[in-house]
């Protein structure tokens, strides 16, 4: 059948199994929106308040499901507004296809109205991108974009379609959904080498990252840890991929990780990294990281092996396959001494956490907020966050309901990510969603409250309001002599009234009783609710590894 480019685009999205897209119309995508109108019974378009919100929504959609998220924006400012969202997806390896319109080919390069070289702009923040200048290439380019986005180490792909290509007509025949490109299987002798290293270890530590999220390996990893007497820690991106209700799981390690997790990683004689990239926030000073430990790294991306830390063995290829083959071959071993030592570290952690909690006489502490969230959140809740102290407390305290139930910007650390991402995750799953945010982050993209209200997204927004940019303030307190440069917000924003003006619910909570009541009511209400949770401006995220420091420099009290 002969269709125009815009119809071919939407037909190809439908062909690739896309049921929801996020976007914002504009001059150079009018044809695409016309096609969306035509196919609205087959593909649902969510209109956000801002293109950045659309990109974060597509990202959240993907994180909550593993599907490829899709966003659409017009040329020029529409396209550049996607940039932060695309970069966020890139740094966390999230599959996404971003579609942008552009001026007709005859006007390209002439600084035409709303013309921008978006493939040039997004070159370093996409896995790959395309400028489609011929109608005959359009459908196959889109198919390739989906294949690239979801294969190997996933990531965002941008397809820029000039207006004349959207208008031009060409034959279209639907094809099947593109398959992921297969990952190579690691050679048997390398598997044997890994098994030999693991069998020879006395203090093994399994280190799980974002690359394991969604692979559904969580319970296998726990079973393997029990088999070989290992303990399990994770990077920020690895959170929620391993069941937390077992004593071998120590939680996140790194800058704001759990004390026992960071310390035992530092004392381990073998680290088995599964889909982790040893980011600077996770390792601290690499020269002092895990010095006495052998490191095995399982990753689909060969460029990650030996990039941040030197490893003893890099197994590049299908992570799940490598893990299963290693797990099957390793010898059983209880290693009670190692586990006893880890338990001792855990006891120290519990001890100093109790001391910190006891010393805190604020009317409502972050720890209390999260205890209430854990107790009151419905089953299978997606927890989304923004970036800052609230995000690290989430990572430390929340008991996640399973894989893909944690949606947060790790690598890029994008303030303003959360609300759009929460909306996207709800559109994808219809599962309960809680956004944990701060007054700084929320202020960046709170316009998406309009979207949440319009689309009846029952997101419970826990706004941890301390009137300051808490994470930067914490650094200023610890490392800059309390010179609070531009981190005291002193804004007069009334978040309760603001929520109501958007058509959402708003409620203030200043004590544990008030918060519990407000949270339970918000969960029941089934509509977007902002809970303005007042916490003290000098709350800290502890423990903390000072930037560039080693594990031995860990700060556990101030």
């Amino acid at each position: 059948m002969k269709l125009n480019g815009a119809q071919i685009l939407i037909q190809t999205l439908i062909e690739q199994g896309v049921t929801d897209v996020f976007g914002y119309p504009g001059g150079q995508v009018i044809n695409i929106y016309d096609a969306l109108y035509e196919y609205k019974d087959k593909i649902n378009h969510v209109l956000t308040a801002h293109e950045q919100g659309a990109a974060h929504a597509a990202d959240g959609y993907s994180r909550a499901t593993g599907k490829v998220g899709v966003c659409i924006a017009t040329s020029g400012p529409g396209a550049t507004n996607l940039v932060t969202g695309i970069a966020t997806a890139m740094l966390d390896s999230i599959p996404m296809v971003a579609i942008t319109g552009n001026v007709p080919c005859s006007l390209i390069g002439k600084d035409s109205f709303q013309e921008i070289d978006i493939t040039g702009v997004t070159l370093p923040i996409t896995k790959h991108n395309y400028f489609v200048n011929k109608i005959e290439d359009l459908a196959d380019t889109l198919r390739e974009a989906f294949a690239i986005a979801k294969s190997g180490r996933p990531g965002p792909v941008l397809v820029d379609i000039p207006k004349d290509v959207q208008v031009a007509k060409y034959d279209f025949e639907p094809q099947s959904v593109v398959e992921k490109m297969p990952l190579p299987k690691v050679k048997e002798d390398l598997i044997d080498k890994a098994v030999e290293l693991i069998n020879g270890a006395q203090k093994p530590y399994i280190y799980v990252g974002g690359g394991a999220a969604g692979l559904g390996m969580g319970s296998d990893i726990v079973a393997f840890a029990e088999k070989i007497g290992a303990v399990i820690g994770c990077s920020f991106m690895g959170l929620s991929s391993v069941p937390q209700d077992n004593e071998r799981f120590l939680g996140m390690q790194g800058m704001h990780g759990h004390y026992a997790s960071s310390m035992s990683q530092n004392e381990a004689d073998l680290i088995l990294g599964i889909g982790v990239r040893f980011s600077d926030r996770a390792t601290g000073n690499v020269a002092k990281f895990a010095k006495q430990s052998k490191i095995i790294q399982l990753d689909p991306d060969s460029a990650e092996v030996n990039k941040n830390v030197r490893v003893d063995l890099g197994l590049v290829g299908d992570v799940e396959d490598s893990f299963k083959r290693i797990a099957a071959k390793c010898a059983e071993s209880a290693k009670p001494d190692w586990f006893a030592r880890v338990k001792q570290l855990k006891a120290e952690e519990v001890q100093f956490e109790a001391e910190i909690a006891e010393a805190n006489d604020a009317p409502l502490t972050p720890k209390q907020v999260f205890e209430i969230i854990n107790a009151e959140k419905p089953a299978n809740t997606v927890i989304a966050t923004d970036v800052g102290q609230h995000q690290m407390w989430t990572a430390q305290y929340v008991e996640f309901d399973g894989p893909r139930r944690f949606v947060s910007s790790g690598g890029l650390g994008t303030m303003g990510f959360g609300l759009g991402a929460a909306i996207g995750s709800y559109v994808a799953t219809k599962d309960p969603v809680v956004l944990i945010t701060g007054d700084g982050s929320f202020g960046m993209n709170l316009n998406e409250l309009a979207t949440a209200v319009s689309y009846k997204i029952p997101v419970v927004i826990v706004l941890m309001n301390n009137g300051v940019l808490g994470m930067v303030r914490q650094w200023q307190t610890l490392f800059f002599g309390k010179r609070y440069s531009n981190t005291v917000l002193s804004r007069k924003t009334d978040f309760v009234a603001l929520a109501k003006s958007f058509g959402a619910e708003g409620v203030l909570a200043e004590t544990p009783v008030e918060f519990k009541r407000a949270f339970a009511a918000a969960v029941k209400a089934g509509k977007p609710t902002v809970i303005d949770v007042r916490i003290d401006k000098d709350e800290m995220v502890l423990p903390m590894l000072p930037p560039g420091g080693a594990i031995s420099d860990i700060i556990t009290k101030v």
């Binding site: 070159l123 370093p124 896995k127 790959h128 690239i148 060969s302 460029a303 092996v305 030996n306 990039k307």
Partner: protein, 166 residues
């Protein structure tokens, strides 16, 4: 780690914008290139980029892995074991009568050729190893170099080996 000079051959799609993707990656990853040349190959669908640069084993390994991740890159190879390296230079020197015979002797010894000649200056074409080009420049310096340009290194492995084995 020890820093070495090495040459990398990269087969890429012969399409618009491909060179940008490759060089943008170098910038993004903070790699410094000494020379980069690009041109058509025995297969019209591919171009061959020859990069010469310096770095330790870490740089070399990262560079190759990062290159392989680019979707326009079809093949990457470090040319080990002293590949055949050639570079071409055009150099314009002052044509002063008192230096003319010295210049002509150098041209003769280096198997270079004079390709343009006027009473003020002459243009010489030199081909060879980069070190030979360097030596020729050094020799011309006292005579007054007016302008010069070098192509950068192109290189092939010795023997009948090719990068594509299929």
């Amino acid at each position: 780690m020890e820093t070495n000079r090495f040459v990398i051959a990269v087969y890429v799609d012969n399409k618009a914008g491909v060179l940008t993707r490759v060089t943008a990656m170098f910038t993004r990853r903070n790699f410094n290139i000494d020379t980069l040349t690009v041109g058509e190959t025995e297969r019209s669908e591919y171009s061959r980029i020859t990069i010469s640069m310096r770095g330790d084993d870490y740089v070399k390994e990262q560079l190759i892995n990062q290159l392989k991740k680019l979707y326009v890159v079809k093949k990457v190879e470090v040319l080990e074991d002293e590949p055949i390296k050639r570079e071409l230079m055009l150099i314009k020197v002052q044509n002063a009568s008192e230096h003319r015979s010295d210049i002509m002797t150098a041209v003769d010894v280096f198997r270079a050729s004079v390709i343009d000649y006027s009473s003020e200056g002459m243009c010489i074409e030199v081909t060879g190893n980069p070190s030979k080009i360097d030596a020729f420049i050094k020799l011309m310096q006292p005579f007054g170099i007016l302008e010069m340009c070098r192509t950068g290194v192109v290189a092939l492995e010795r023997g009948a080996n090719t990068l594509f084995t299929d």
